[in-house]
């Protein structure tokens, strides 16, 4: 056993010290009826060399963005470039094999990095406080909604535009399913939320509105007006943002005007230096106004001084948390995504303001270039007229999305996200994403491949997740 130490001699000495004859005797603590009388039905052990080979074989059955394919997939997970320094730092054993900093004296590395993370997030969002991270963007959005419901003095309505990521909406719906809450969806017929409908549904029973900016379709919402509508009703504005977009676009806290914007901002922080890993683990970012801090879920690090007067950092405001408050806690979050918060901290340190801006700029310019090249052809059009940031919804006039995906794959291209699985009306649409990594040559080739119209013979085996509505259990 490569990871255990005890030799036969050790075991004998230890058993003697304990005063038992065998390990089996120790296991008699488990009532006999419940002791498994057979060996688990699992494959036999592999040594490291065999495991390595096996994992490479499994990996070889996949095609990824860094292993053979050019990716145009977005929809909440993005193929942004990750500088090598991020891996170098995050792979230091002192970071990745440590745990929650309960003993501040031997965890200042984690605690200071978390404090820096919180600071970066407040600067990024324009809000007052950030926690140390949550699971992912969707659950962070759900936690934000829970915060709004809890602080809403009995308000029960949660308003979700249809332009919010469908998986975020599904997650929020699940989170509030057992509570006294009502989810109201507002249509987004032109790729952005219908502000008139929003006005009509946001009322004095509304706890919050969730607005994604840029939204799931890549379109830019009128966040200022949506915020005004929300605040006018006394509801909280919850912003779901793309952190890369903040290289050019207004911070959530600054919607309407500086400090007048969103009350809570959440996002999927994967773009900030976390690899795609087939969807997780990712980084749930959540920041809010000072006034909401005691409702905030998750760990929070604060600055203080030690007994010698030295500046230092500790986990703080733990009375919100489940290990003290138990069923009265603000949430049940215990493990978080500290390692990815660290990655985001390193990533943002490396990018700095100029790097963030340039990254955003490249995403904007390149995605618009591709969109224009595609709509120059007869086959495609943009589904929506609204301005977009790094993603856009492409409509195939021939309505052969499966063929496009298959044809892309045959050419080592991950062509985009078919939207029919989320909305039947978008069955002829693809969400196409362009990050700073794509070159003009790749973009031109994408146009060429997609328009060569060569329906791939074996098309159609793509991931078909049927239009999925959460079971109505509320």
């Amino acid at each position: 056993m490569p990871f255990t130490y005890n030799t036969e001699e050790d075991v004998a000495a230890m058993l003697q010290a304990i005063g038992v004859a065998s390990i089996e005797e120790l296991l008699e603590q488990v009532p006999a009826d419940f002791r498994l009388q057979r060996t688990l039905d699992l494959p036999q052990a592999m040594g490291e060399m065999e495991l390595d080979r096996h994992m490479r074989e499994l990996a070889g059955k996949n095609v990824g963005a860094a292993s053979g394919a050019v990716s145009y997939l977005g929809g909440g997970t993005y193929d942004h470039f990750i500088p090598a320094v991020v891996d170098t730092i995050a792979s230091r054993g002192e970071f990745y094999t440590s745990y929650t900093p309960y003993q501040a004296e031997v965890a200042q590395g984690n605690l200071q990095a978390m404090f820096e993370y919180q600071t970066l997030i407040t600067r990024l969002t324009g809000l007052d406080v950030s926690n140390c991270s949550l699971y992912d963007g969707a659950s962070a959005a759900a936690e934000a909604v829970m915060m709004a419901l809890a602080s809403g003095k009995g308000r029960t309505r949660v308003v979700l535009p249809a332009s919010v990521h469908p998986e975020y909406r599904q997650t929020i719906t699940t989170y509030v399913s057992c509570l006294d809450a009502e989810v109201v969806t507002v249509a987004a017929p032109n790729g952005v939320v219908d502000l008139d409908e929003l006005r009509s549904v946001v009322n004095d029973q509304t706890a919050c509105v969730v607005l994604q900016q840029p939204n799931f379709f890549g379109c830019v919402e009128d966040a200022d007006e949506a915020t005004r509508i929300t605040h006018a009703a006394g509801a909280l504005m919850i912003a779901a943002f793309d952190p890369i977009s903040l290289g050019l676009m207004k911070r959530p806290g600054d919607w309407v005007g500086v400090g007048e914007g969103a009350d809570i901002a959440v996002c999927e922080g994967q773009s900030l230096g976390t690899p795609m890993q087939y969807g997780g683990p990712f980084l749930g970012i959540l920041a809010c106004r000072e006034s909401l801090v005691r409702r905030m879920p998750g760990r929070i690090v604060g600055q203080t001084t030690d007994r010698r007067g030295k500046r230092c950092f500790v986990l703080t405001m733990q009375t919100r948390e489940q290990h003290i408050r138990r069923d009265k806690a603000t949430s049940n979050v215990c493990s978080n995504q500290a390692l990815f918060a660290l990655r985001a901290t390193v990533y943002l340190s490396l990018l700095g303001p100029e790097g963030l801006k340039e990254t955003a700029h490249l995403c904007l310019q390149k995605s618009r270039y591709l969109a224009e090249r595609l709509v120059e052809t007869d086959r495609f059009e943009l589904a929506f007229a609204a301005p977009t940031f790094k993603e856009f919804v492409l409509r195939d006039r021939q309505n052969k999305i499966d063929d496009l995906i298959a044809c892309g794959l045959a050419n080592d291209i991950l062509a985009g996200l078919p939207l029919g699985q989320f909305d039947p009306e978008l069955d002829d649409c693809l969400l196409v994403c362009v990050t700073e990594k794509r070159t003009r040559e790749e973009l031109d080739r994408f146009v060429e491949v997609l328009t060569q119209n060569a329906a791939h013979p074996n098309g159609g085996n793509r991931a078909k997740s049927p239009h999925f509505e959460p079971a109505s259990i509320a």
Binding site: M14, Q29, Y96, V129, S130, R251, M276, E354, R462
Partner: protein, 484 residues
């Protein structure tokens, strides 16, 4: 200077990153985005050079204790060795670079792996259905309770609102129950950590929804009455939930499904050695009984014959599903490591993991009990809880003092003041990946500390970068970010 913040060492004009020139025709941003959406300026991120970033974070890292550097007997957290082979595997191209929305035929290797993880977790738990979606143990609890909620509702038993939780349970149990809309009722436990059957029976009634039990429990004792408890809960129509935080004690030895659990979560970052990452990520896959399968979050990975298309696929077909509990498939990176761990050990190796974890814990208990009483008795599974109550009474030395002083000797502290049922608790979990030599040295150090002067101990640690931060001020006048 270690104590400087990123923001202290920033200087306008420094850069660590240079993006390429734009290779497509550039249009004015104002033509592409609405004026109202544009920021007046870029967020005030620090401006640094690459060497500075590297040195800052490298030096910060050295202020942490970690499993790679120190013995870390943090009870309940299972700080075992994180195999480096798993890190290598999880970062392979073709694993680390997959997008969650890729076509199924482009990710057959990944889907196969996830399908196998579902199978393995079911076999280990003795429960037939699995969801890999939850992102952490507590998230798994919550997901399972939503499943229970949906199950009762679907079966016309919406009146079941009561969740029983022993008083020594992890705080996440009652917190999760509350989030899922249940009422929590606390059940007393005995000094051995076992459920007080009298109190349990007093609180058990026909409104029981779920009994959430941690087994082995948080003092490291296998609940001796688990059979009776499960039988009585089931007799009342309730469900048994197994908090799987301590699964590392019973791999291949006992299966929750066999001792009455209807649902359980795993903490793969504990049981299957995913690195803890300074607080996360974890993962919280759950296994459930057949009758609960329809309510699991979607998708799950399913297998079909080759003629129907790609062999492994994402199955969204259950119409009774509770829906999503997060975006995308799950914390796949953690599950990949769990897969590697299970494949590295095989059935005999997994059983040996638990045997050695139990052996190490009992050995440490046998060395410690003479000077730090262990109220639960002479035996434990993978961890035990010692009490410094006597030391406190007699000499004013607290569990906190002992914990802090251990840091001076190069040991991470055990978990302290948990469970709250044991006064001045020190919860020690050595794990199976430590040596007898380490346990001996640790026990000797612990003994030495109990002999030291209270004055010395109250001011410990003495050798660390900082000592005894002022937590009260931190909480009362919170400074949660750097201004300036």
């Amino acid at each position: 200077n270690d104590s400087q913040l990123l923001f202290d060492i920033s200087k306008p004009g420094r850069r660590a990153t240079r993006l390429p020139a734009c290779d497509v025709p550039v249009k004015p941003v104002a033509e592409l985005l609405p004026a109202a959406s544009l920021a007046a300026s870029t967020p005030e991120l620090p401006e640094l050079a690459e060497p500075q970033v590297v040195r800052h974070f490298t030096n910060l890292s050295t202020l942490n204790m970690s499993v790679d550097t120190h013995f870390y007997p943090l009870g309940s957290c299972t700080m075992k060795h994180n195999p480096k082979r798993n890190e290598r595997a999880a970062s392979l191209p073709g694993i680390v670079d997959l997008h969650p929305y890729q076509p199924e035929e482009s990710i057959q290797g990944m889907l196969q792996l996830l399908y196998k993880v579902q199978e393995y977790l079911c076999e280990i738990s003795g429960l037939p259905a699995c969801s890999l979606q939850p992102a952490a143990g507590a998230h798994g609890e919550l997901t399972a309770l939503w499943v229970a909620h949906a199950y009762f509702k679907d079966n016309g038993q919406a009146h079941r609102t009561k969740v029983l939780v022993p008083d020594n349970a992890h705080g996440t149990n009652p917190a999760s129950a509350a989030m899922a809309g249940f009422d929590t009722v606390t059940v007393k436990t005995l000094i051995t950590g076992a459920v007080d059957m009298e109190d349990f029976r007093k609180k058990l009634d026909d409104n029981i929804a779920v009994f959430m039990i941690t087994n082995p429990n948080t003092v490291g004792v296998f609940e001796p009455q688990i059979g009776e408890i499960a039988a009585e809960v089931h007799a009342r129509g309730g469900l048994m939930y197994l908090d799987g935080a301590n699964m590392n004690a019973i791999l291949g030895i006992s299966r929750p499904g066999d001792f009455g659990a209807d649902m359980q979560h795993y903490n793969p970052h504990k049981t299957f050695s995913g690195p803890h990452g300074g607080g996360g990520p974890g993962a919280g896959p759950i296994c459930v009984a057949e009758k609960l399968r329809p309510y699991l979050p979607a998708p799950v990975v399913a297998k079909r014959s080759a003629s129907e298309g790609a062999e492994y696929y994402l199955d969204y077909s259950s119409t009774k599903s509770i829906g999503r509990v997060r975006s995308f498939f799950g914390n796949v990176g953690v599950l990949v490591r769990a897969y590697c761990y299970i494949r590295s050990h095989g059935p005999d190796g997994l059983r040996r993991v638990s045997e050695q974890a139990v052996l190490n814990a009992n050995y440490l208990l046998s060395r410690v009990k003479h000077f730090l009483p262990v109220p639960q008795g002479e035996r434990c599974m993978h961890e035990f809880v010692a009490s410094a109550k006597k030391l406190k009474t007699e000499r004013g030395v607290t569990a906190m003092d002992i914990a802090k002083r251990l840091l001076d000797f190069g040991y991470h502290a055990p978990t302290i003041y948990f469970p709250q049922t044991v006064p001045e608790a020190l919860m020690c979990e050595p794990t199976e990946t430590e040596s007898k030599e380490t346990l001996d040295a640790f026990a000797e150090t612990l003994f030495r500390i109990t002999e030291e002067s209270p004055e010395l101990l109250h001011e410990a640690p003495h050798t660390t970068a900082i000592s005894r931060p002022d937590e009260v001020t931190a909480a009362r006048q919170p400074t949660l970010c750097h201004c300036g």
